[in-house]
Amino acid sequence: MKTPLALAISAAALTLTAAAMADEPRSGGTVNTIIQPEPPGLVLGMVQNAPTRTVAGNIYEGLLRYTTELEPVPQLAESWEVSEDGHTYTFHLRENVTWHDGEPFTADDVVFSADVFHRELNPSARAVLQHVESIEATDDHTVVFTLTEPFGPFLISFEAGTFTMVPKHLYEDTDFRNNEHNDHPIGTGPFKFANWERGTVIELVRNDDYYEEGMPYLDGVNWHIIPDGGSRAVAFENGTIDVLPSGTVENFDIPRLSAMDNVCMTEEGHEYFSPFAMLWMNNREGPTADKRFRQAVMYAMDREFARDVLWNGLGDVPLSAFGSNARFQHDGLEPYDHNPDRARELLEEMGYDGEAITILPLPYGETWTRWAEAVQQNLREVGINVSTQATDVGGWNQRLGDWDYDLAFTYLFQYGDPALGISRTYLSDNIAKGSPWNNVQGYENERVDELFNAAATAFPDEEREALYREVQEILHEDVPVGWLMELGFPTLYRCDVQDLVTSGVGVNDGFKDAWLDR
């Protein structure tokens, strides 16, 4: 006789089988989704904006793709080998891949994309390529990257949005930025560019010659362009839109929309980016130049409140300067809890005299404005004389680029590895006016520089881990910036859109696997 547990298990197995049968992907149908804001162009590598990545990640591909655990899986490269000393990476390419114009995709395209195209145009790829000594095609379907030294995050750098493969036969020896094909991007991906009605819609259609048999399942994807957040919510509500990628509606609309019938929500698909919200604190002048003041700010802020009220409970309060998806996170640090008394003590200890300071909210919508108000109130409670200043995107860029601020909200992508997404905020040689994304706060610490630089090229991972632990301890003490939250960016979709988020970059390459259960 079967025990109740065994019965339960076999019942579960039956359900699973039934589900698996129902879950056989079916071809056909078009998905309507949103792109916000309208991208400036669709040629990845030339344009790196989030909306460009979101649309063009379905047109173009990289050598590798990444799971939601950020494990590399084959894309254009079928397999790869790393030499024992970590100096040489050999990629074996798929042999049956063609560009959307019918030309075959070969190792020459890889060499051209990496060595010529990205070196010239793409700052994110350049940061990786500075570790690469040579790129060679040893035959039509094999490419060898030789590094000047081991580089820990090398294998995570091949995501389509960062390291896109572009067609050599269309771009070689042309002025890349004025190339006539920019208006009609040609990739290897599951969807082909069909039409861009400026201000209205970008239409992609199925690539019938895609190298994976039977894929993609969808006939096409329409990216609607709707500039007003309220109108986007309405379009989803009335059924015109099937998928709302993260960040396309205001947070206060999310509980209402996700409570609708046949609406599902996922937080997956941002592991590669893991947007990390921070508070820049000017380390150069004013009270924020004092470490104790910055610690006081950390203790004064109620970050759980912000997450629960402003972000619908999605996201995580960070344990360290390293986010949970960026590898090597130190989980043994004493957290900066909400502790106004400790904050007041620190302020008294440093002799804070009530000097007025300002906060710049991020001009990206209502949630950020409200968050700045919440932080302002937190800081006032411990006696910091603070007020918020509103700007638009241009003003915000300039204020940060000119270091003309006390506290400022921002968020940064982590790109799966501290050497790609995190060290840039703290390295002293990354202090330069004119950019809001470098070491804007002006933090200089020789030991931190040494550790970050050593860790980027240390080999194997155990060595990197030790270096990164030490650097996190120093940063945790120094508080060069305030660590606010690892943001939870939910994607809302009709539940009959299946297998929508299958990778660590979410809908940016997700329509490859998606299908409609209608």
Partner: protein, 325 residues
């Protein structure tokens, strides 16, 4: 002949005015914080100095201001409006691509508000002490006082979300593949909400103005004469009162017409209408100077053209206005 001389003179003045506007706009934009290269780089989320320098060089932002000004003005003289930094396309093409949608929206709203406003105003003037006249004026006051964005949002909530009668946004149904007459119908359905929203405010103004100036004209001696000679009230209303009351309405219509290119930012944004207003707003946020200056130029040119047309229409409506002055 008189008209021809008037037009030539006004066009000469217009060229000078436009030139001054171009210079003024150029410096106005320089005063805005933030530069386009930094914003483009900022949007990309990652940048290095090389990237910024490349962008500045491409846009000519590495040149001294007077060189930039000279390049821009000499370009305009050849009707070359330059390239949009962000969209990487000629400004002229971008504006032309968006112009039809905007003109369709603002033109419809213009005709709608003018016709309905004058009709409602005349009715209110004829029913000056009756409840129906008061009702018209109360509605006009309501539309006059209600913010446009609120009307827009509420009309979406009522007619698209609750009743489901009309589409909530866009110029046409994406993916429906309509052609020919079906497409015209589809666009017309999409046009109803934004055009009505945009028309309401001006309609209210026309209504109030028509009524006031008609009541004013009704007090004049020639109206008494007309009544005394036994003309029918309807004819007096149309020929003697309305025609004389039209001048202030023409002035206002000229103003509204001048705003047709750039005056629908809010409506276009809420209804995702792919027009110039949205293009301008996005260009402003992106500090896309060339594009913004191009749109300013077109808007200014249109205002000037409609001023000239208004002057001509004055003369048609009231033959007492004469000459080229």
């Amino acid at each position: 002949m008189l008209y021809a001389r008037l037009i030539v003179m006004r066009l000469c003045k217009a060229v000078i005015v436009l030139f001054l506007i171009v210079i003024f706009n150029f410096f106005l934009i320089q005063m805005a914080p933030g530069d386009p290269a930094a914003i483009l780089a900022g949007e990309a989320g990652a940048t290095d100095q090389e990237f910024l320098d490349q962008l500045r060089e491409r846009f000519g932002l590495d040149q001294p201001l007077y060189v930039q000004l000279w390049r821009y003005v000499s370009g305009i003289a050849m009707l070359d409006f330059g390239y949009s930094y962000r969209l990487g396309a000629p400004v002229f093409d971008l504006i032309m691509a968006r112009l039809p949608a905007t003109l369709l929206l603002t033109g419809t709203a213009f005709v709608l508000s003018l016709v309905l406003g004058i009709v409602a105003g005349s009715m209110a003037a004829a029913r000056v002490k009756k409840p129906s006249g008061s009702l018209i004026m109360a509605l006009a006051l309501l539309f006059y006082a209600t913010p446009l964005f609120w009307v827009a949002l509420m009309s979406v909530v009522v007619f698209s979300v609750y009743l489901g009668w009309l589409p909530a946004y866009g110029l046409y149904t994406v993916g429906a593949g309509h052609t020919g007459f079906a497409l015209v119908l589809d666009v017309a359905r999409h046009l109803i909400l934004p055009a009505t929203t945009l028309a309401l405010f001006f309609m209210a103004i026309y209504t109030r103005m028509t009524r006031t100036s008609m009541l004013d004209a009704a007090q004049q001696d020639y109206v008494k004469t007309a009544r005394a000679k036994g003309l029918k009230p309807g004819i007096i209303q149309r020929r003697h009162i309305l025609r004389n009351a039209l001048l202030p309405i023409i002035t206002l219509a000229g103003l509204q017409a001048g705003q047709m290119v750039g005056g629908a930012i809010l409506t276009e944004t809420v209804f995702a209408w792919p027009g110039i207003g949205r293009l301008m707003f996005e260009a402003l946020q992106q500090r896309d100077y060339n594009l913004l200056l191009g749109i300013f130029f077109f808007s200014a040119a249109l205002v000037i053209v409609f001023n000239i047309i208004t002057d001509l229409v004055y003369r048609l409506a009231d033959p007492r206005i004469k000459g080229g002055s």
